[in-house]
Symmetry: C2
Subunit: 367 residues, 2 copies
Amino acid sequence: MADQSTALPLTRESVQAAHKLIEPYIHKTPVLTNATLNRLASTPRTEAELEGTEWAGRAPAKPVLRFWFKCENFQKIGAFKARGAFHAIERLKQEPGWAERGGRERGVVTHSSGNHAQALSLAALTSSIPAHIIMPSTSSPAKIAATRSYGAHITFSGPTAPEREAVTSQILSQTNAAFIPPYDHPYIILGQGTAALELLSQTPTPLDAIITPCGGGGLLSGTALACEGTRTLVFGAEPSLDGADDCRRGLLSHARVETVPAARTIADGLRTPVGKIPWSIIHDRGLVRAVYAVSEDEIRKAMRLVWERMKIVVEPSAVVGLAAALYNEEFRAMVERDGGKAGWDLGVVFSGGNVSLEMMGKLFAEE
Amino acid sequence: MADQSTALPLTRESVQAAHKLIEPYIHKTPVLTNATLNRLASTPRTEAELEGTEWAGRAPAKPVLRFWFKCENFQKIGAFKARGAFHAIERLKQEPGWAERGGRERGVVTHSSGNHAQALSLAALTSSIPAHIIMPSTSSPAKIAATRSYGAHITFSGPTAPEREAVTSQILSQTNAAFIPPYDHPYIILGQGTAALELLSQTPTPLDAIITPCGGGGLLSGTALACEGTRTLVFGAEPSLDGADDCRRGLLSHARVETVPAARTIADGLRTPVGKIPWSIIHDRGLVRAVYAVSEDEIRKAMRLVWERMKIVVEPSAVVGLAAALYNEEFRAMVERDGGKAGWDLGVVFSGGNVSLEMMGKLFAEE
């Protein structure tokens, strides 16, 4: 583990400092708007649409919503994860004694089958530092090839957490490299928060709120730090299938849910439970107002709308925030109450665009 | 037919005038770049890649290419066709005696199953003018619904040209409306040319060339007019399957190919032969330097690259220009000869993004 004692405090100022550090390496991604999606979100759902949901028989909410989509699908490696990874590498390089202890040659280690593996590999490669990635042997050939294309050293493990951790420990003791986990680390959280920091500066009008997906919680807690002390509220969104809405459930019971066994949601980036440090920001410090859950069908419908109306490629995990704004009546009723006739300007973080054509075919063949 | 005697001359100045007229109604679409696609295009193909093509055994070309993608997939109705349609409606409204003869009540007529139907319907609706659309009864329910959503009056015809023309004549005599064909009309051509006009003004460096798809030739001939008198060369691209490369073949034999029977290319917007007025610009006036053909597999490969690397949704017809730049050795050898070490800045018009998720699934399931 990188030495956390040297990490910056978890504050908005630290997110600003992170942004300065990584600016030369990342894309300042565009913020898009879409009149059709605003109109759809600002139209009350029909009673027929609410049939068969938990809101059946209730009067549909009447929110007014104007979306500001932060397009991290256009970020390097196709996801916001590049932000945290570049930040971790830049901070490592600044740690006192890191270079002297041979840090540059020892490199970095992580376990990930997805966007974090590619992000850390690219960031390490950019600084000519070796990256050791532990991937489940069940990872798709496309993901293995993508990670390898960034020059990473890949070691395979069994798919379970104990198997993964055993291999990770082994590689760590072999290499003495710095461990950079996918979300439960201050460097990562502060880096991910820079997406919201940019978003806040890219809209002509102040945002009433920002909603982001929540898996391990790096993006959501970083966003919460970026918005601390501003008038912008922060919300999370999760898939409900198989209890993947662990953060939402944890907030209700004031106890972090530590495991989510065998979540099968199509939002594959959001299957993990919230990490300890993200939880301390989201729950203990109260910087996230609430988290909302959406169904698989709602995720698919939101993806189709983004595809057809915005003509951009987003992965299933990326649209859970939009799905909550379109289909979650609790969220919508809150916007109606709080925003009134003027409504809300809502920032929505599209977290990534790494979905294969084959996966898309499968997702929409099932409809 | 709208009275062509009142149409502006087919010149760059008329494209500029068209742009002024339609600016309030259309999106100024963004111009994107992509370092990975530049690198790919600037890497010689391997001899193995040329095996089995007409260039097998020849030394691969070594062009240097920097792409500037004009994203008409983000245009209203998802395609450049909105430009020509809005221009036609605005010009009609200015025709002497049009309103006095009841033109506004009579409206407009066209036959199209695709983007032109939606574009003309939207443009007519925007000016509160009725639009009568003749669609083949075999059109997909999604396209029928989309056209209807713009308030158009739809009449179905049999799928053959004589059946379509019979129904069109009947509707024309019933309504006395103005006929606005999909490409073979000065208003349409001048409107389509505005995409290239914008593109020329959106790059920091002058473009060496622009390449666009070529179906009926409205976009290609409009682009040629927009570039006349500038230093920017104009090229077209077509699918080769079933002889859909009619413009390319016509240029070689100096005779317009008038029919393309039963073209099945996945680039469904490019199945039609080039129209008479586009041909007079492309061939007779010599304003298009050459047209290149690409295979179905090359179209699919280019779509996949745009999907994976740029994270944007484009329809098969939209990527034939990119496919030519990546895979057509004649085009690539020409860029090598003409551009030398400095290479070319090449404008590539992505003409539209109207491809359904179901169609994408089918296209890539076949691989």
